[in-house]
C-alpha cells in the first residue's frame, strides 16, 4: 500500500509540466546520441551536467536519467541500419540486427528492439520500485568496512569484465584512484598532488576527465581512419513484428529482462555486460544456434531487452547505497552532488519526492521513447547520413562548451585536452578508460571509508573479514582477481570481456 501511495506521489512530481519537458528533452537527446556513432551517453551527460544547474534537482536528474535509457533505445537503430553501434551496449545488436536489415527485415528488427526495450524497461522500473526501498533499509546498517569492500568489489568486477589484459585494467583503476585523490585531503585538509596550482585544490573535475577520455579521444581515433557507413537505403516498412516474430522473441525478451536487471544491479556490471550475456544465453538455449549471426530475431530481442533492464537495475546501487555501479551512474552521482544531494539509504525516506519522481519519470520516458523511436525512424535515418567530417567539429565544440560551463574556467579545457590525448594513447596501447573513470569517482569514497574503518577498529584489519557482507564482497573480489590465472576461468573471461569505451 505504501508503495502505491509513493508511486502516486512520484507520478505527481513527474507529470509536472516542467519535469515532463525535461524528461522529453532527456529521452530525445538520449535517442539522438544513441543514434549518432561517436557520441555516447557518457559524453552527452557530461555535456549537459552544467545545464541541470538551471532547474530543480528533480528536473535535472530526470533529464540525465532520460539521456541514459534513451541512448539504449537509440543505439539499436544505428546498429541495425548502419552496422555501427551507436553506443557500447548495442554492439551485439549489430550482429543479427544488421543481417535482418540486409534481408529486408529492418522494420521488424527495429520494432522488436523498441518493444523489447519497452517491456524490459517497464519490468526494471517495477522491480526498482519494489527492491530499492527494501535494500535501502538494509543498507542503513552498512558501516565504512562494508562500503569499502563493496566499492573494491565494484572496481574488481569492472576490471574483470574489461577487454584485454587484467593487469592493464587494474593499473588503470589504481591510476584512477590516485587522480581522484588530487586536491585537499577530506580529513586533514592537506593539499595532495596539486603542484602548487590553486585550480587543483578542489581536485580534477569529473566532466573534463570524462569528456577528454571518452569524447575527445574518440574523435581523435575516428579522425585517423576513413569511416565508411553501410547504411540500409531501402524504405523501411512494417515496423510491427508479426506473430512468428513475437513467438520467437517472447522467451528472449523475458530472459533478457531478468538477466539484465540482475546484472545491472551488480557493481561493475551494467548494460554492456547484460547485452553480451543475453546474446550468449540465447545462442546457447537455441535449438538452431547456427542461425545466430545470420539474422536471428532472438539475437536482437534478448540483448535489447537486457540492456534496457540493466539500465533500470543500475539505479538501485546508486539510489540505495550511494555507490555508482558504472561510469554512467558515476555521472548521475555528479548530478546529485551538483545539487547538494547525497544518494544513499536515507534518500528514499528524506527525499521521497525526488526518488519516486525519478522512478515515475522513467516510466513516462519509456512511453515517450516508444513514440519517438518507431514513428520517427525516418528522421533518425536521415540523421545517420550526416557525414563525420561535419559532425566531429561540432562534437568538439559541444565538448568544449560543456567543459567550460561546468566550471567557468579555461583550466578545465586544458585538462580535457590533456585527457583527450592521454585517452587516445591509452586506447592505441590497449588500455581501457572505463576502470580509470569509475576508480576516479570511487577513489575518494574508497579512501574515506578505508581510513574510517581503520580508525573505528583501532587499526584492526580483521574488521574487513569479520563482518559478513564485507567478507563476502572481498572473497568474491579475490576470486575474480585470482580467477584469470586459471586457464578455464581465463577463457571464460575472454568470452565476456567487453569494450566499454564507446
Amino acid at each position: 500500500m505504501d508503495t502505491l501511495v509513493n508511486v502516486a506521489h512520484g507520478f505527481g512530481v513527474a507529470l509536472a509540466p516542467v519535469n515532463l519537458l525535461y524528461c522529453f528533452i532527456g529521452v530525445f537527446i538520449g535517442t539522438l546520441v544513441g543514434v549518432l556513432p561517436g557520441i555516447g551517453p557518457i559524453s552527452a551527460m557530461s555535456l549537459l551536467l552544467p545545464v541541470t544547474l538551471s532547474g530543480t534537482p528533480e528536473s535535472g536528474i530526470i533529464m540525465m536519467a532520460g539521456i541514459y535509457y534513451g541512448s539504449m533505445y537509440g543505439g539499436s537503430t544505428t546498429s541495425i541500419l548502419v552496422n555501427i553501434p551507436g553506443e557500447a551496449a548495442s554492439v551485439v545488436t549489430c550482429i543479427d540486427g544488421h543481417q535482418m536489415a540486409k534481408q529486408g527485415r529492418a522494420g521488424p528488427a527495429l520494432g522488436i528492439a523498441a518493444f523489447g526495450s519497452f517491456i524490459a524497461g517497464t519490468f526494471a522500473l517495477i522491480a526498482l520500485m519494489l527492491v530499492a526501498p527494501k535494500l535501502a533499509s538494509v543498507a542503513i546498517v552498512f558501516g565504512p568496512a562494508e562500503y569499502f569492500s563493496l566499492m573494491a568489489l565494484g572496481l574488481v568486477v569492472l576490471t574483470f569484465l574489461t577487454q584485454g589484459s587484467m593487469a592493464k585494467a587494474l593499473l588503470m583503476a589504481c591510476i584512477g584512484v590516485v587522480l581522484g585523490l588530487i586536491g585537499l585531503d577530506s580529513i586533514t585538509a592537506q593539499p595532495r598532488l596539486t603542484f602548487g596550482r590553486i585550480e587543483l585544490m578542489d581536485g580534477i573535475g569529473l566532466v573534463p576527465v570524462v569528456m577528454g577520455l571518452f569524447g575527445v579521444a574518440e574523435v581523435l581515433l575516428n579522425t585517423e581512419r576513413v569511416i565508411k557507413r553501410d547504411i540500409i537505403e531501402a524504405k523501411i516498412t512494417r515496423l510491427l513484428p508479426d506473430k512468428e516474430d513475437w513467438k520467437a522473441s517472447a522467451g528472449p525478451v523475458g530472459r533478457g529482462t531478468v538477466l539484465g536487471f540482475f546484472l545491472g544491479i551488480l557493481p561493475g556490471g551494467g548494460a554492456v555486460v547484460a547485452s553480451f550475456a543475453s546474446y550468449a544465453l540465447e545462442k546457447r538455449l537455441s535449438g538452431t544456434p547456427e542461425r545466430f549471426g545470420h539474422g536471428a530475431i532472438e539475437g536482437v530481442a534478448g540483448p535489447e531487452a537486457a540492456n534496457n533492464a540493466a539500465a533500470g537495475g543500475a539505479f538501485i546501487p546508486l539510489m540505495t547505497l550511494g555507490i555508482p555501479p558504472n561510469v554512467v551512474m558515476a555521472l548521475l552521482l555528479g548530478a546529485f552532488v551538483v545539487h547538494g544531494l547525497q544518494p544513499g539509504p536515507l534518500m528514499i525516506t528524506q527525499n521521497p519526492g525526488l526518488f519516486w519522481g525519478i522512478v515515475a519519470s522513467m516510466y513516462i520516458g519509456n512511453l515517450m521513447l516508444l513514440v519517438l523511436n518507431l514513428p520517427m525512424i525516418g528522421m533518425w535515418v536521415q540523421l545517420l547520413k550526416l557525414p563525420y567530417n561535419i559532425l566531429f567539429p561540432l562534437i568538439i565544440l559541444f565538448t568544449i562548451i560543456g567543459v567550460y560551463c561546468s566550471s567557468n574556467n579555461v583550466f578545465d579545457v586544458y585538462v580535457m585536452i590533456a585527457f583527450g590525448v592521454i585517452g587516445y594513447f591509452m586506447r592505441k596501447l590497449g588500455y581501457e578508460p572505463a576502470p580509470l573513470v569509475l576508480a576516479f569517482v570511487l577513489g575518494p569514497m574508497l579512501e574515506n571509508n578505508l581510513r574510517k574503518s581503520l580508525i573505528l577498529s583501532q587499526g584492526d584489519l580483521g574488521t574487513f573479514v569479520t563482518r559478513p557482507i564485507s567478507a563476502a564482497c572481498l572473497a568474491l573480489a579475490l576470486v575474480l582477481l585470482i580467477g584469470p590465472l586459471l586457464p578455464a576461468l581465463r577463457k571464460r573471461r575472454e568470452l565476456v570481456a567487453l569494450d566499454e569505451g564507446a
Binding site: 593487469a167 557525414p387 567530417n389 580508525i455
Partner: protein, 161 residues
C-alpha cells in the same frame, strides 16, 4: 602473443613502454605518499592510500613489463599501421591553439576559426558548407547559452560575445 609486428627485446615494443611509464608513475606516487606522511594503521595519514596505491601501480606495471619482455608485444609501427596519424595531431594542435586563445579572444572569435579549421583540415568539407556552419553553430550555441540559459562564455579583451 605472436605474429607480424610482435617484438620482445626491442625499444619499439609498445607494451614495454606502457609498462615502464606505469612503473615511473607508481614510483612517483609512492614518493608523494611518503612525503605526505603515512600516519599509523590506527590513524592513517594523508599519504597512506597514495603510498599503497603507488605500490599496486608498480606491481601491475611490472606485470605488464615482464609480459612485454617474455611474451613480446606489438611495435609502435604496427599500432599505427594504416592510420592517418597526422590527422589526430592536427586536431590536438587546433584544440591547444583554441584553449590558448579562448581567454584573450573570447568564445566567438576563438570558436569560429576552430570549427572552420577542423572542417577544412581533416577531411575537407567544401567552403560553401564549412563557412556557414562554422559561423552559425558557434553563434547559435553562444546565443542559446547566454540568452536562454544565462550561462556566460568568455568575451575576451575585445568584449565580443
Amino acid at each position: 602473443m605472436s605474429g607480424e609486428g610482435n617484438v620482445k627485446l626491442r625499444l619499439d615494443n609498445s607494451e614495454l613502454w606502457g609498462g615502464l611509464i606505469g612503473l615511473g608513475l607508481g614510483i612517483f606516487v609512492i614518493r608523494s605518499g611518503l612525503k605526505l606522511k603515512l600516519g599509523t594503521i590506527h590513524d592513517p595519514g594523508s599519504g597512506f592510500v597514495l603510498f599503497y596505491t603507488g605500490i599496486l601501480i608498480c606491481a601491475f606495471a611490472a606485470t605488464v613489463t615482464v609480459a612485454a619482455l617474455t611474451e613480446g608485444g606489438p611495435t609502435f609501427g604496427s599500432r599505427w599501421r594504416d592510420a592517418r596519424w597526422g590527422k589526430p595531431l592536427l586536431v590536438i594542435a587546433c584544440l591547444t591553439a583554441f584553449a590558448i586563445a579562448l581567454d584573450p579572444l573570447g568564445f566567438l572569435l576563438a570558436a569560429v576559426p576552430l570549427t572552420l579549421l577542423l572542417m577544412r583540415l581533416v577531411d575537407p568539407v567544401r567552403w560553401s558548407l564549412a563557412i556557414p556552419i562554422s559561423i552559425l553553430v558557434p553563434v547559435g550555441m553562444w546565443w542559446l547559452l547566454k540568452q536562454a540559459l544565462g550561462i556566460q562564455l568568455p568575451s575576451g579583451t575585445f568584449g565580443i560575445g
